[in-house]
Symmetry: C2
Subunit: 490 residues, 2 copies
């Protein structure tokens, strides 16, 4: 074996220029052993000789041999260093084999269509106006938080989140949403999907019943299916979730998912009668209500509706909120307000399962709330979104006339454009996507069997300038016209 | 009903000074309805009259009434506005009721002891030296990333992470760890626990068999139990995981969890024979190997051991890495390298289940890697940790002498101090915690039945200055002496 040649060949074909001599030698010998060039049982040159032959320091050789021995490629005894018997065929070139593992688990693959790839265009729902976020202020607060950070705050954080942020959120929720809570009940999450995931796994077992609004929010459905809960779809009417006596009797829930302040996607408000009844009955069957209050900071007519959580003391309600809509989605911060009795067990669960950190981000956000920047931003966005909503309403009136009904436009950052059953909304949605427009079909929000007379579109208007509204709605109306004709020619 | 008095009382007792008149009136009437002061069916004063009586604008009254109607507290018809029949008892004061919901689910409660609350002291494992992280450099890179950010980057991000970071990680892994991968195989995670969680749910179903090293890493056990996998503990010896033929035959795995480069907690290196055999046999039974390479950037003797992932093309290996140890835990960024065939399905799963963002953090980290700051930091830390390891070794020698064996000290940021079976390590660990010292008992890492002769402690030394090592070890030795005597008096 000409080691110098072996090394020279390897150096020109497989090595990286940055490698040390020691690294080069180690990689070279390893490759030669794996390819069979240095076969099992073959004795390597003594280190002193090899050092001389390669013009390397003996220590370099010794280190490389030691490394090979640690990895098990060679064995050393009194007689010298020998290539180990690896007992397996040398690896084949890429492409020759395939993965034996079947891929996604059944529970992960349980088919939901993939989400839309793009979310930056008319009328992607749930995305705020990113151009209007005061990024310079945020950057300053972040930089200040980083400057003030102690080294110890680079460590894992409190499983429920930074106390300063939890306290600022509790203050905000008490004042703005009528939520009854102490900071100890507030948990910081990575957003609503993360919170739903956490709740459905830590507060229910596989096979437990969860109620979901029908039509409803598909993100919640994803979390519940991933957690292998038994999903029971409960119909909503214009006042929100309307469970029947049979629902309570035949499939009593462990969890109840509701969007009471702005039902997704139709925007109805769950009436106070229904809220109180739901709370009483949930208590009776031992269910926990998950109140997803995803966008009710934006309300354009009258003061914000209070949250269900604060309606009755000891209500079995777990409240979810997010900064994805009030700040920006990439922030990845949301929160839950949990009943006091759940705070300790949930903190223990989170500590084991999903360790937290990101102290600087949380402290900057706490400052954003505490200094009133958050309230200022919300006020500005409320004005902006009201203009956009009005522009959307006017454009729909112009291009759809009496054939369309708008639902849920008094709050939030989307509305439902309800059309007749003769409009194939899913097909229009697909055609619109090809034109770069995201208009999710209302019919795709049916959980379980699709319901008649609920065709139409979810229109998120927060990122669409008022001046651009007319053109986008005209484009949509033209598509609807085209497909309506196709569906019923002459 | 004296509305002026009602309002005045409410304003002094329950209202917030910041409320507008409209908000005040709305809250006041709502409270009166809920308490029964305004009873069901009672007709409210006409808006014009009420405006006069309260000295408010009529629009203020109209808004408040509209709000109450939206919430369902009142109903309006031609005859006027009436308090609705709510059909439920008025809420009781806090403390009167209890939550019906049973609390944590069985799968969440499946008892693992809560993690240690503090992680900033000798000898908490897995925490790097936070005082030595170049926080000023990091802050500058972060600020630069924020300045360069487009508004569109405030939106949800690529489900697999920012391309620039994935590419920088792939480059680093190829050069430093011998990992064979394209950037498209790299997924950004929130850290190793998040990755384990994702893998155990998306790549295995409830009841599927996962192999775990025994003794082994309890974080992995938590993830597998949470996902309701069937955990089979496979004993490790000094060369790492050693499954028997019976193991392959009787409980063939779907997933195999290994820490081949620095077995946790004992620090053994899985030999190349075993690695190749494991890969071949995993392929044969359709298992996927999860290679957790949590700390092998820190290696003190010889170049780093290459990762198992790169040992054979098409190896069924999913590689996990983290920046918690090389950067800092609060960063909450780790990564997986997945087999090419899993990249697309996993991206779809993540897009639906755990939307991502944090573009600025990821781009700053990509720069940290790309500009060589990461390599520089690693080199500095390697020198520092080697000193600390040496100081720990010397102190153990001084205070324990021949009664102790050190394992796994050639790499990583912890080592295992193995003592005799007569040392009640769990009791010493509890006593040490009371003195502010974290020394996790080796016996607590047994998965399944505890094994004899594996008593001792996991000692994380990265955050302990060399000068403080002797005192801490002496303190530990004294505790061991005290409990050893207690266990066997006279």
């Amino acid at each position: 074996m000409d080691y110098a040649l072996l090394l020279a060949n390897f150096a020109t074909t497989d090595a990286q220029p940055s490698w040390s001599q020691q690294r080069l030698l180690h990689e070279c010998l390893r490759a030669a052993i794996r390819s069979g060039t240095l076969h099992a049982g073959c004795r390597l040159l003594a280190t002193r000789q090899l050092a001389a032959e390669l013009g390397m320091a003996r220590n370099t050789i010794l280190y490389a041999f030691e490394q090979l021995a640690t990895e098990g490629f060679v064995v050393t005894d009194r007689r010298g260093t020998f290539v180990a018997h690896l007992n397996v065929a040398p690896p084949q070139r890429a492409g020759a084999g395939t993965l034996g593992h079947p891929g996604l688990s059944a529970r992960a693959a349980c088919a939901l269509p993939p989400s839309d790839p793009a979310t930056m265009s008319a009328f992607a729902p749930g995305v705020p106006s990113l151009d209007d976020f005061p990024i310079a202020i945020w950057r300053r607060l972040l930089d200040r938080a980083w400057r003030a950070l102690a080294a110890s705050q680079l460590n894992y954080g409190d499983p429920a989140g930074e106390p300063a942020l939890r306290s600022a959120i509790a203050d905000h929720l008490r004042a703005a949403r009528g939520v009854l809570c102490e900071p100890s009940q507030v948990f910081i999450t990575d957003g609503t999907q993360n919170a739903l995931d956490l709740c459905s796994r830590s507060l229910a077992d596989a096979g437990d019943v969860v109620w979901i609004e029908n039509p409803g929010y598909r993100g919640a459905l994803t979390a519940f299916r991933n957690a292998e809960l038994r999903v029971v779809a409960i119909d909503v009417d214009e006042h929100g979730l309307a469970p029947s006596a049979a629902d309570w009797r035949d499939h009593p829930p462990k969890l109840i998912y509701v969007t009471p302040s702005h039902q997704y996607p139709f925007g109805g408000v769950l009436s106070v009668c229904r809220r109180l009844a739901l709370i009483e009955q949930a208590k009776a069957v031992g269910a926990l209500i998950i109140e997803d209050d995803y966008d009710s900071e934006f309300r354009y007519d009258g003061p914000p509706l209070s949250a269900m959580q604060g309606l009755a003391p000891n209500a079995p309600v777990l409240y979810l909120g997010t900064f994805s809509k009030t700040m920006f989605p990439a922030l990845r911060i949301g929160f839950m307000v949990v009943p006091p009795s759940l705070a300790t067990p949930l903190a223990q669960y989170v500590a084991r399962s999903a360790p937290r950190g990101r102290a600087a981000d949380q402290l900057a956000l706490a400052e954003f709330l505490r200094t009133g920047q958050f309230a200022t931003h919300l006020r500005r966005m409320r004005r902006l979104y009201r203009q956009r909503r009005d522009a959307l309403g006017a454009a729909v009136e112009r291009h759809f006339g009496a054939s369309a009904t708008l639902c849920g436009s008094s709050a939030g950052i989307h509305l439902a454009l309800v059309l007749g059953a003769e409009v194939p909304d899913a097909r229009v949605s697909a055609a619109a996507l090809e034109q770069g427009m995201i208009v999710n079909a209302l019919s795709s929000h049916a959980i379980g069997p699709a319901q008649a007379a609920r065709n139409g579109f979810v229109l998120g208007y927060a990122q669409v300038p008022a001046s651009a509204m007319d053109a986008s709605v005209r484009q949509l109306a033209a598509l609807v016209q085209q497909y309506r004709q196709k569906a019923a020619p002459l």
